[in-house]
C-alpha cells in the first residue's frame, strides 16, 4: 500500500498498522488492515459511516484494543511489549509511555464540564506532564490565544458554543505537544455555521507544524486542502488511497465513485451518521 | 461457639413463623399499593386544598420512623379513640401506611413519564377525564414501575422485624424468645439473618432481571 506515496520515502513510518483486525462480537469492523503513516504526514480518512475509519483512530489512541495484529508507534509496539524475550499484552505503564506521543480531538468534544476552560487545558499539563502551575497557565493561555479563546478562560464548557468548545478541545490536545494528533469527525456534531471556525484552526495547525495528523472527516473540501494523502475505507478495508488529486479527480473503484457522487449531491445525513457512530462505540 | 445440634433444634420453630412474617409484608404491601395511588393523584391535583394537606401528611409520615408510628397505633389508638388493634393488624396498617408514601412517589414518577403527547391526543379525541386516566395514562404509567414496586415489597419484608417491637410474633421476635430462654443468641439471630437472605436475595435478583428486561424492551420501543 505504501508504494502509493511518492513524497515521503526517506523516513521510517511513525505509525504502522500490521494486519489489524477488530471485531465487536460477531461484527468485524476492520479486516486485516495494513497502513503506514510517515512523520509529519497529514492523512485524511474518508468513507461511509461504519466503514471502520473511526476505529482506526480509536485503536491508536488505546480506546479500543485490536482483536489481532500489531500497531507500532515510532518504532515501538503500542499494544504489546517484550518481556523475557516473549511478546505479551502491554500493561498500563507501557501504554502510558507510548500514549504520550498521541493526542486526540473527539466528535463530541468531551470537555470536562466541572472545570473552567483554563483548567481543561492545564489539567493534564500539571498532573500528567508535571509542569509547574504557573508555567502550565502560561502555555495554556498561549494556546487559547491561538484558537481565539483567550477571553473565555474562566468560563465553563456549558457556557460556550459548539464551535468554541471544539476549539478548546483542540487547544487541550495541542498543549500536550503530541507528535501525532487524531481528529475524529470534529465538525460532525456542530451546527453548519460553526464548522468553518474549527476547520480554520485545524488548517492553521497543519500549515505551521511538522505534527503528524490523522483526520477523519466528512468535509471533502477540507480534506482536499489539508491532507497529503486521502484514504477511503469501506466495509473495514482500505479500498483506495492516494493524493487528493488522484482520489477526488480520478477515483478508480466503483465504491469510491458512488461515495463521492453522493457527496457532490449534498452533505450526507448527519443525524443518521451520529446514530450509527453512537451505536458502534 | 456455634452449636449445630442446637441450631437444628430451633430451626423448625423459626420456620413456623415465616408465613406470619410473609403475610404481614404482603398485606402491608397491598395496603400501601391501594393507598399510594390516591395519595399520588391528590398530590398532583390542581386544587390546592386537596394537594397541600395530602402532601404535608405524606411528607410527615415519610420523615418519621415507622417504629414510632407503630407505637401510636398500638398505644394511642386504644387510649384516645377507643380502637384496639391486634398487634398483627396494627403492624400491617403501620407498614402499609408508612410505605404508601413511598409508593405514591413511584406512581407519581410513572405518571410523569407518560409523554405530554398522550394527554394532548386524549384531548384531541375528546376523551373525558376518567377515560383518559383509566384507558390512556394509568395503563402506560403502571407497568414500567413494576420492578420498583417489587423492590418495595422486598424492602417491606425486610422491615417486618420492626414489628417485633409491638409484639407481633414474626421471625425476630421468635428468635429473641428462643435466645433469651437459653442465652444462646448466636444461633437464633444468625439463622434469622440467613432466612431473610435466602428469601430476599433471590427475589431481588428476580426484580433486577425484570428491570433489565423492561429497559431492553423500552429501548427497542424507541428504535
Amino acid at each position: 500500500m505504501s508504494q502509493n506515496i511518492q513524497t515521503f520515502t526517506s523516513d521510517e513510518p511513525i505509525v504502522r498498522y500490521k494486519n489489524i483486525t477488530k471485531s465487536f462480537g460477531e461484527h468485524t469492523v476492520l479486516k486485516e488492515l495494513d497502513l503506514d503513516i510517515l512523520p509529519g504526514e497529514k492523512v485524511a480518512l474518508i468513507g461511509p459511516s461504519g466503514s471502520g475509519k473511526t476505529t482506526i483512530a480509536r485503536l491508536l489512541m488505546t480506546l479500543e484494543s485490536p482483536t489481532s495484529g500489531t500497531i507500532e508507534v515510532d518504532g515501538e509496539m503500542l499494544w504489546h511489549m517484550h518481556k523475557r524475550g516473549r511478546l505479551i499484552s502491554a500493561n498500563e505503564k507501557h501504554l502510558h509511555r507510548v500514549r504520550s506521543k498521541i493526542g486526540m480531538v473527539f466528535q463530541h468534544f468531551n470537555l470536562f464540564p466541572h472545570m473552567t476552560i483554563l483548567r481543561n487545558v492545564t489539567e493534564a499539563l500539571i498532573h500528567v506532564l508535571k509542569i509547574p502551575k504557573a508555567e502550565a497557565n502560561h502555555r495554556a493561555l498561549e494556546i487559547l490565544e491561538r484558537v481565539g479563546l483567550r477571553d473565555h478562560t474562566n468560563h465553563y464548557p456549558s457556557q460556550l458554543s459548539g464551535g468554541q468548545k471544539q476549539r478548546v478541545a483542540i487547544a487541550r490536545a495541542l498543549v500536550m505537544q503530541p507528535r501525532i494528533m487524531l481528529f475524529d469527525e470534529v465538525t460532525s456534531a456542530l451546527d453548519p455555521e460553526l464548522v468553518g471556525e474549527v476547520l480554520d484552526v485545524i488548517k492553521a495547525i497543519a500549515s505551521e507544524g511538522d505534527m503528524t495528523m490523522i483526520l477523519i472527516t466528512h468535509e471533502m473540501d477540507f480534506a482536499r486542502d489539508v491532507a497529503d494523502r486521502i484514504i477511503f475505507t469501506d466495509g473495514g478495508v482500505i479500498v483506495e488511497q492516494g493524493t487528493p488529486a488522484e482520489l477526488f479527480e480520478n477515483p478508480k473503484s466503483a465504491r469510491l465513485q458512488s461515495f463521492l457522487s453522493r457527496f457532490m449531491k449534498g452533505q450526507p445525513d448527519r443525524s443518521a451518521d451520529d446514530r450509527v457512530a453512537a451505536g458502534t462505540e | 461457639m456455634w452449636d449445630w445440634g442446637y441450631a437444628n433444634s430451633i430451626l423448625p420453630k423459626l420456620l413456623e413463623v415465616i408465613p406470619t412474617t410473609l403475610a404481614s409484608a404482603i398485606l402491608g404491601f397491598i395496603l400501601a399499593c391501594l393507598l399510594g395511588l390516591p395519595i399520588a393523584l391528590a398530590r398532583r391535583s390542581s386544587k390546592k386544598w386537596i394537594a397541600w394537606p395530602v402532601a404535608a401528611f405524606s411528607e410527615f409520615i415519610r420523615s418519621t420512623p415507622l417504629l414510632i408510628q407503630l407505637f401510636v397505633l398500638v398505644f394511642v389508638f386504644p387510649q384516645s379513640f377507643n380502637i384496639t388493634l391486634s398487634p398483627f393488624l396494627a403492624g400491617v396498617i403501620g407498614l402499609g401506611l408508612h410505605y404508601s408514601t413511598y409508593l405514591s412517589e413511584v406512581y407519581r414518577s410513572g405518571i410523569d413519564s407518560v409523554p405530554r403527547g398522550q394527554w394532548e391526543a386524549s384531548i384531541a379525541l375528546n376523551f373525558n377525564k376518567l377515560r383518559t386516566w383509566l384507558r390512556i395514562v394509568l395503563p402506560q404509567s403502571i407497568p414500567p414501575t413494576i420492578p420498583v414496586m417489587g423492590n418495595y415489597l422486598i424492602v417491606m419484608f425486610k422491615e417486618t422485624p420492626t414489628l417485633s417491637a409491638i409484639t407481633v410474633v414474626e421471625l425476630l421476635m421468635t428468635a429473641k424468645v428462643i435466645g433469651s430462654a437459653s442465652f444462646k443468641y448466636v444461633e437464633a439471630f444468625t439463622l434469622v439473618g440467613i432466612i431473610f437472605l435466602v428469601l430476599s436475595y433471590p427475589s431481588s435478583l428476580l426484580v433486577r432481571a425484570l428491570e433489565r428486561r423492561m429497559k431492553r424492551n423500552e429501548r427497542r420501543g424507541i428504535a
Binding site: F112, A124, Y156 | S63, I68, Q79, A175, V186, F189
Partner: protein
C-alpha cells in the same frame, strides 16, 4: 395545647442529643463504607469485587434490626468481647447504610459519560488520575440526592437502637411513658414532631449543599 406540655421536653431533648450524635457518627461511617464498597465493586480485581459484593448483598439482603441485634447480642458471644450499645449501633447503621450508599456511588460513577474517560485517556492520565480528577468530581454531584435520601432513612433507622437499650430519644420517650401511661399520646406526639424537625433540617442541609456544589458550573 394542654396535652403537648413542655415539661416532657427536657428529658426528650437529652435523648435527641444521643439520636443526633449517633446519626452524625453513623453517617460518616456509612459514607466511608459506601465509597469503599462502591469503588471496590468497580475494581479491576475480581477478588475485590467479590468481597465488596458479598458485603453489600448480605447487608442489603437482611434487615437493619437483625444486624443490630446480631452485632449487639451475638457478635460479643462469638468473639468474647463487650460492645457498648453505642458502638454496636454505629457499626450496624454504618455497615447497613454503607451497603445502600455503595449502590449510589457505583451507579453515579457508571453514569459519567464514556467520553469523559476517553478524553482523560487521550490526555494520558493514569487510571487513578482519571478517577480522581475527571470521573469522581462529576459523579459526586450525582451522588448527593441519593445520599440525602439515605441520610433521612438513617436518621429514622436510629429509632431502632431503643430496642438495644441505647438511651436515644425513643428510649427516653418510652421511659417517660412507663412513669405515666396516661401521657402516652403527648409523648408520642412529641417524638413524631422531634423526628420530623430533625429530618427536615437534614433535608434542608442537603439541599443547601447541593446548590453550593452545582453553583458556578453554568
Amino acid at each position: 395545647m394542654d396535652w403537648l406540655s413542655l415539661d416532657l421536653l427536657p428529658p426528650l431533648l437529652k435523648g435527641l442529643k444521643i439520636t443526633l450524635l449517633l446519626t452524625v457518627i453513623s453517617i460518616v461511617v456509612a459514607f466511608c463504607f459506601a465509597l469503599l464498597a462502591g469503588l471496590g465493586r468497580l475494581s479491576r480485581f475480581a477478588i475485590v469485587r467479590a468481597i465488596m459484593s458479598t458485603y453489600v448483598e448480605i447487608f442489603r439482603g437482611t434487615s437493619l434490626l437483625i444486624q443490630l441485634f446480631w452485632i449487639y447480642f451475638a457478635l460479643p458471644m462469638l468473639l468474647d468481647v463487650r460492645l457498648s450499645a453505642m458502638t454496636a449501633a454505629v457499626i450496624a447503621l454504618g455497615l447497613n447504610y454503607g451497603a445502600y450508599g455503595s449502590e449510589v456511588v457505583r451507579s453515579s460513577i457508571l453514569a459519567v459519560p464514556k467520553g469523559q474517560i476517553e478524553a482523560s485517556t487521550a490526555l494520558n492520565m493514569t487510571p487513578y488520575q482519571r478517577m480522581r480528577r475527571v470521573i469522581f468530581p462529576q459523579a459526586w454531584v450525582m451522588m448527593l440526592p441519593g445520599f440525602g435520601n439515605l441520610q433521612i432513612e438513617l436518621l429514622k433507622g436510629t429509632s431502632l437502637v431503643y430496642l438495644i437499650t441505647l438511651a436515644d430519644v425513643t428510649y427516653q420517650g418510652m421511659t417517660l411513658r412507663s412513669f405515666d401511661i396516661s401521657r402516652t399520646p403527648a409523648i408520642l406526639a412529641w417524638l413524631l414532631i422531634l423526628y420530623f424537625i430533625a429530618s427536615y433540617t437534614l433535608t434542608l442541609i442537603v439541599r443547601l449543599s447541593e446548590r453550593k456544589v452545582v453553583k458556578g458550573r453554568g
